[in-house]
Symmetry: C2
Subunit: 134 residues, 2 copies
DNA sequence: ATAACTGCAAATGATTTGCGATCGG
DNA sequence: CCGATCGCAAATCATTTGCAGTTAT
């Protein structure tokens, strides 16, 4: 028999569900703790392996924050991310075709823009600490 | 006596010079090997410590690529970065005040945009591998 | 059946830290 | 002087990998 397909295991299923359930950009560790509630025996390496497979299959995508871990995102349509330097939250940014064209034109040579990633300070944090420190 | 100042050591000086000399976004390890030519006895941890100090003092800034290491940049004026997913090169992107305003408006809430970071495929790599894989 | 998958433990790569020795202001 | 900094080795953190046993197809 010639095998060459991915298998749907309870672990893979649970990892995908956890990324979706978390709603907003979990890290591998976040996913691990969510999945552990359904599958207490799962190992962290299985979570990493399955996140890798899901990214490879295009079911989710990986976003790197200014901090060291990767965050995962299951939203299929094209969008960018902003990372708040104060609270660490990741927010989606809608990007129209025009926005992407405008960005591409900033890079003069024929760059093909893939992902858009911004960092800054979110409205909440800007308001909260605006007085002490600018 | 009340001390609380940074000292200029030959190591710190050399690390800063190496970031500038490299010209274009070295990693900590790149800096280490450049500095070693002047100061063969320097240790990698000293390089890391001094890169940290220089970032803290605003003399250089850190850019995180899609791969795991940080890259350093000494160019003081406001600009963004694009990382080529194929060859790993980091290119600067000029940003006008208008560009920044346009980006800020994409994020509806009152986000203060700090850094702009894009990934994609540079012109050279897009041309080279455009035929095999799109 | 059998190749893809798992859990575990050990390995890796990047970066940080504790510590006794050193050096700059 | 004396605390900021150094070099070194060990520690940490996120992630990956080797392997022997398990499971989906």
């Amino acid at each position: 028999v010639q095998y060459s397909e991915r298998r749907m295991t309870s672990q893979r299923q649970a990892v995908l569900e956890a990324v979706i359930a978390h709603g907003c950009h979990p890290t591998a560790d976040d996913v691990f703790y969510i999945v552990k509630r359904k599958l207490p025996g799962i190992s962290l390496s299985t979570v990493y392996r399955n996140l890798g497979v899901l990214v490879e299959q295009g079911e989710i995508s990986a976003v790197r924050g200014p901090c060291s871990e990767l965050h995962y995102d299951h939203d299929g349509h094209r969008h960018g991310h902003v990372y708040c330097e104060v609270c660490g939250s990741v927010t989606d940014v809608e990007l129209s075709a025009g926005d992407l064209a405008a960005l591409a034109s900033l890079v003069d040579s024929g760059y093909l823009i893939g992902t858009v990633y911004l960092t800054g300070i979110c409205a909440g944090c800007a308001g909260a600490e605006g007085k002490e420190k600018i």
